[in-house]
Amino acid sequence: MKLVTGNDLESGDVVWWTGDGWSRHVADAVDAGHAGESIAATEEAARRVNSPYVIDATATADGPRPAHIKDRIRAAGPTVRPDLGVRPADANRGEWVI
């Protein structure tokens, strides 16, 4: 599957395209299919999200899992500070990242 991701303009937070907006949780991300580049271009022009781009991911029972470790770390937060991550209550988050 293809996800669209970027950083929120004001907060800098990592955000994921949900089909009609942006979420801070990768679990909310939807498969952008072939429309990813077009969505990224439109959102870039709207100037709400910085440098949106398209990534590969796989669908899992826990939601989309970005293919590259960089995007998995973006999704979950620094692996060395799980207390600061996006899903701090998820005890398996570290496993998911690696």
Partner: protein, 544 residues
């Protein structure tokens, strides 16, 4: 310490106002990211993996307690309660909101700080010896010259758009604690045979993807000619630096391609003109600046001995306390490398504590080191035990300075958008493998440095053991190098062979250390043994 005059303050205040307007225009949608990015970078504001990151300049690594307290305030009020001290003697905050960035800069300006010259292709924040003004081996305090360079370089219109970033370091001792030969320009104050103090100037050094050791461009430069000569160096670089290829745009490439002798010839030719322009300040102006760096009012007749009956305190004294030029005083290095910690990170409470200690016991001075530690440069020996107790209570008394767990590590893939691999977890694993302090002390001085990408912010080229994280088909992989040094015996580490995964590189480091222990002669550091015996026995132990 230097204090802003009305012009310094006005310049910094005006920049805050200007940036606030730029941020407002970006948030309103008036500006695109492409238009805004160079403006935010000129104010130290990056966009990293998880958020905006603000890099605050600490000129030549020197601060007073008031400034350090402000760093804690910013960590607490605008970030997530901590900051990261960097290999450029600066501090970075990892979780900044764009609309709050101007407020942070406004608060910094109230204590004479800013984030200018921490990004972009300009002359970056000047770095220096963290022991400047205190070191027993110093010829002259380099900080007045660093401050002169700061004033000259800040917003210098001719050098705002250089081919690439430009880093200058200044030292005043034979022992190089600032890696001068790995800078674009390195300056070393020394005394000649006639007893005069002047500069030796190196140019064309650096790390990154093409590491190079700077050659001497001028063996002797009278101090009064510093600005005109450095300006001449920059002019030649600005004219001929490779603007067509960012990977070949640093001065080191120019100096390497045309040769040090030809570069020096061109600088001398340029200087013949530049030095007639009246750029060098009159002695009175330099003396005005130097006056801010006068030694503190040392107490006389202080005891020069320390009670060594407490073994833990004694261990810390032996490892983290250095000689001071003034009898009865010492230099304290506070390790920001506790077991399982993140190299260079300090919480707001820890930052406040260090500021309090500087205020109460350290003549109101602190330094940031390029090894990501903090220094109290002027401490009475009689106060050392009290200071140690306070540090111990805050997790800041790890006695590991220059040992294998005193690791330099860049933020790596946990934070940095440029990184290919994580640095911090690897640093933690290596430090954990050598957690036994007796073992660390038996190994002795071993500078281990980790970078998460080829840009080398973790100085891996200059590590006795250097580790570079790379991306190998989407997996983190680590290349191991031996034999680097950033000290006066500067050398570049060489890759020893195929890379490893994270656990593999920890094992390899341990095998290298054990090989060294088996081969060393009396008094040899890891680096000395490696230089004497070469790579073969280490390679055999690791790959054999």
């Amino acid at each position: 310490m230097y204090k802003y005059d009305e012009y310094d303050q006005a310049i910094v205040d005006a920049r805050v106002g200007e940036f606030r307007d730029q941020v407002n225009r970006r948030i309103s949608g008036e500006m695109s990211e492409d238009q805004f990015k160079p403006l935010r970078l000129m104010n130290g504001l990056y966009l990293q993996l998880h958020a905006y990151m603000l890099r605050v300049a600490v000129p030549y690594g020197t601060m007073d307690a008031r400034q350090m307290h402000m760093l804690a305030t910013i960590a607490r009020k605008y970030d997530k309660g901590y900051g990261h001290f960097t290999t450029r003697q600066n501090i970075q905050y990892n979780w900044i909101k764009l609309d709050q960035a101007p407020d942070i800069l406004a608060e910094l300006a109230t204590v004479e700080m800013h984030a200018i010259q921490t990004s972009g292709n300009c002359i970056r924040n000047i770095s220096s010896d963290q022991f400047a003004g205190a070191a027993a081996d110093e010829v002259e305090d380099p900080r007045p010259w660093a401050e002169l360079l700061r004033q000259w370089s800040t917003f210098h219109p001719e050098f705002s758009y250089l081919p690439r970033k430009f880093k200058i370091a200044v030292i005043g001792a034979e022992e190089d604690r600032a890696a001068v030969k790995l800078h674009d320009i390195g300056l070393q104050l020394y005394r000649n045979d006639a007893g005069e103090v002047g500069f030796r100037l190196f140019a064309g050094g650096g790390m990154g993807r093409t590491p190079m050791i700077a050659p001497v461009i001028r063996e002797w430069l009278p101090k009064g000619d510093l600005l005109s000569y450095v300006e001449s160096c920059l002019r030649v670089y600005n004219r001929y630096g490779r603007r067509d290829n960012m990977y070949k745009a640093r001065i080191k490439i120019l100096v390497h391609e045309i040769g040090a002798a030809e570069y020096a010839r061109q600088v001398e030719e340029e200087w013949a003109h530049v030095k007639t322009l009246g750029l060098d300040p009159p002695a009175s102006e330099f003396e005005r600046i130097a006056g801010y760096f006068a030694p503190p009012a040392y107490d006389a007749d202080l005891p020069d001995t320390v009670d060594r009956t407490d073994p833990d305190f004694t261990l810390w004294i032996d490892q983290n306390v250095s000689a001071h030029k003034q009898p009865g005083y010492a230099v304290v290095t506070i390790s920001l490398k506790p077991a399982e910690g993140i190299p260079g990170d300090a919480s707001a409470d820890q930052i406040d504590l260090m500021a309090d200690l500087a205020d109460k016991y350290g003549h109101d001075e602190l330094r940031v080191t390029h090894a990501q530690n903090i220094v109290l440069p002027h401490v009475r020996k009689r106060d050392l035990h009290t200071i140690w107790q306070a540090l111990e209570g805050a997790g800041l008394a790890t006695p590991n300075l220059d040992l294998i767990s005193d690791i330099i590590a860049c933020p790596g893939l946990d934070y940095c958008s440029l990184a290919n691999a994580r640095s911090i977890p690897l640093a933690q694993k290596i430090a954990g493998r050598f957690a036994d302090l007796d073992r660390q002390r038996d190994v002795g001085e071993l500078k281990l440095k980790i970078s998460g990408c080829i840009n080398a912010c973790g100085h891996h080229h200059a590590g006795h053991i250097g580790i570079l994280g790379v991306d190998r088909k989407g997996e983190e992989n680590y290349q191991l190098s031996f034999g680097g040094s950033a000290a006066e015996d500067t050398s570049l580490a060489k890759i020893i062979g195929p890379g490893f995964n994270e656990d593999g590189v920890v094992d390899a480091v341990e095998k290298a250390v054990e090989t060294y222990r088996g081969l060393r002669t009396e008094g040899e550091r890891f680096l000395d043994t490696y230089r004497r015996v070469g790579l073969a026995p280490f390679k055999e132990a690791i790959y054999g």
